[in-house]
Symmetry: C2
């Protein structure tokens, strides 16, 4: 447990010189883009589970979610990104920046669930995808409930 | 050649019942999110190539680009998405929707280049990544030059 939290904090605070060059307003824009694109793909998987199941589409959607989740989005929560910058609004709550141990834990859970969803989706097993999809949604919700304003 | 064009059109017009449910304004939003998130990751790879090279960060960035590219974004160019919808603007040119054979070809090229970039990034070979990154950028530019307004 301690190890996974430490890894999470590491993963979530991974801001190298490279990504640190991104302006705060662009950090907000890019993180919102990532969540938006993941939501489209979650929606596709949901529609496939509720309707005609296209294993290839589900696999591609799950791969996108897992790769976005694993791309080091923690670097997009740098200094100055805790509130709106001009037109660029954000729903992140102030607590997010004060509870990085917990945020790191949630990030690890989310990454693991998304990676598992991609793995299961590649198998084409609809029932297993249903389970992994629900698990992933729970990890999204865990962070939204605590750190995202309505 | 003919086969790859046909595959491209197929990939690019892949709008199943599932994804067809997305409202036109949301299709524009999601496709912009995808391109935006890819641009962040292209920027990270560029910064790594020009500065300190972090192979893990490059691999994760390349995976995100490849998975987004392969997620069936053609479904986000449905009817009614050829011009702005309310506040949701788009830079896509009308020609895009009239030249789907060529768009399909460009999409196939882009997907192949992004998949190759991810493959090469996993090897950790910086020189090979430099080449694959340039090739991927060319396939982005090929579409932007022809079908994206300034």
């Amino acid at each position: 447990m301690k190890k996974s939290i430490a890894l999470g904090v590491l993963a979530f605070s991974l801001a190298t010189a490279a990504s640190a060059q991104v302006k705060p307003e662009d950090q907000i824009k890019f993180r919102q883009a990532g969540y938006s694109f993941m939501s489209w793909n979650m929606g596709k998987i949901k529609a496939n589970l509720e309707g005609e199941y296209n294993a290839k589409q589900v696999e591609a959607a799950a791969n996108a979610i897992a790769a976005i989740a694993g791309s080091g989005m923690g670097a997009l929560y740098g200094p100055g990104t805790d509130k709106a910058i001009g037109e660029r609004k954000t729903r992140v709550k102030p607590e997010f920046f004060k509870e990085m141990d917990n945020v790191g834990k949630l990030a690890v859970n989310f990454n693991a669930a998304a990676a598992n969803l991609a793995k299961v989706a590649a198998s084409g097993d609809k029932a297993a995808v249903q389970k992994a999809f629900g698990d992933t949604g729970e990890t999204c919700k865990a962070c939204h409930d605590k750190y995202r304003a309505d």
